[in-house]
């Protein structure tokens, strides 16, 4: 029982770490590259404008999709590893 509880705790901690990592990338792609850091990326040109513009209009969306699928895939692994997956 104590083991079960420890496993469950460890699973939740692993989930929180994974979410934190994903949200850093989430914020970096949109608020970072797309908005605040755009002046820093001004030197990298993409089709008549700069990389920051691309991130704001398309890059952030593509990053979001990759993040969700990565999270879903990784969580399936964690579910199995910690034995909390659905039967």
């Amino acid at each position: 029982m104590a083991d079960d509880k420890n496993m469950a705790q460890a699973y939740w901690q692993a989930n929180l770490r994974l979410i934190a990592g994903c949200l850093v990338v989430w914020a970096l792609a949109s608020y970072g590259f797309g908005i605040l850091l755009r002046p820093l990326l001004a030197g990298i040109s993409v089709g008549g404008t700069d990389l920051g513009f691309w991130f704001a209009q398309q890059g952030s969306i593509l990053t979001f999709i990759a993040l969700i699928f990565f999270y879903a895939w990784k969580m399936n692994q964690l579910d199995n590893k910690f034995g909390v997956h659905e039967e």
Binding site: Y11, T49, F53, F64, I65, I68, F69
Partner: protein
Amino acid sequence: MSQFAINLIFVGASFALYIGIAIWARAGSTKDFYVAGGGVHPVMNGMATAADWMSAASFISMAGLIAAGGYANSTFLMGWTGGYVLLAMLLAPYLRKFGKFTVPDFIGDRFYSSGARLVAVACLIIASVTYVIGQMTGAGVAFSRFLEVDSNTGLMIAAVVVFLYAVLGGMKGITYTQVAQYVVLIIAYTIPAVFISLQLTGNPIPALGLFSTHTESGLPLLAKLDMVVRELGFTDYTADVSNKLNMVLFTLSLMIGTAGLPHVIIRFFTVPKVADARWSAGWALVFIALLYLTAPAVASMARLNLLNTIYPAGPTADAIKYEERPNWVQTWEQTGLIKFEDKNGDGRIQLYKESPSFAATAEARGWKGNELTVNNDILVLANPEIANLPGWVVGLIAAGGLAAALSTAAGLLLAISSAVSHDLIKGSINPQISEKKELLAARISMAVAIVVATYLGMNPPGFAAQVVALAFGIAAASIFPALMMGIFSKRINNKGVIAGMLSGLGSTLVYIFMYLGWFFIPGTNSLPNTPDNWLLGISPLSFGAIGALINFAVAFAVSAVTEEPPEGIQDLVESVRYPRGAGTAVDH
């Protein structure tokens, strides 16, 4: 065949399809009605979620907003997609594990309080009703323009169709019609975009065409567009913005608001497993992205096409004569969405930006003011005509716009009716109600909600334009933080969450009312709604994120000085965190 007949065939055929689905997918139980039986495949749920989420605002208005604002309005693209990351990681899987039918269900149980449940019901109803008004008016516009009926008649037709599949089928009927509506709307959005991208850049994929070379000038498309708008006194299309704080907060408010909108959240109650809820959020965003990656291309290309139409020989040469204006300008003039006034009496249409820095140029060219006002909403609808595409493409756009408006309206109506029948009637007033009676109550509340929405669509309140801000503000400031704290903290108790929701909601409403008028009554605003008067340059539309912060802070503070939640509640929080043991969504 006349354009009217073509439009009629496209719209009629799509409506016949929706009604056919309604008859096939009738709801037999409350579980069918609230969560489509709980067995929807994650990819199919993703597609239905995409249609549920993409409203008349996404389909009709968004590209026009981006066309007008350029880079500055990228906020809509990031804000309306980034919320799915929050949904997938912070809400959907755990709420699916909790396994009840509605959003207030979770708030009421987790915070062991019928007060919290009622606050959640109130927030849900205000957010959803304001949102549904926009859908009904959007459907009315599409009807009146494409089917040449009075927009009230158009609204009635739309209401009857929604009534058929939503009241009969509940979530089950809505799910399958939303899948069909997604297919209709994505085809309708993509085909004209492909043609226009081919015409302008030779690239058949609009999302790539946006960053390709403009065939005619040999310049990159965006560089060409920047050049043209600059000649007419507008800010560069790709120009950076100075108020980054507001841009960040507005984007954040849209993201949090997206994740907190109940009609989106309940879609994830329909999948069989917790893991499916995570995958399904990913698929939803894939289907949404098919439109959202195309939208910025449509925006820039439509803006360039529009300016080329007005200045056929380039922005530095003479504008087009009013007598020689193309047909689409004439048809849209009749709707009042395009207006022309020959201020300098030269018989030509001068479209430019009036500003002090451009005044000298305008005077030198003999211009006495901007003469053409174009409503943002027509860009997508008029796109096929601007690009001279065949009549069937116009018919397709009509069916697509209606699909976008109706699919979202149906999702919102279901969220409203389930809150009334499940949370209000069964949850608070009469817990002993039998399943059969609850199903009947759900159908009656759905019917009433449709009548109210149709009435409000025909007589939109004066604040119709601000309702989207209100809906997102409420969802961001009240619902999202309550759900997130319910899952991620065991310490937040009933008192904390009620205080948090009320202060988040209250502060957001006060800030919006201060600038937009108290209860949106024109002229009652306390301060003029201009950037100089905004607190730290934060626009009322961006305040939802601040409201959410206030909600979190108050809830933590109040919970910290009051008692811990009972042990049973802490066990409940524990159980939603682990996927094992999730059945399909169940009744009480």
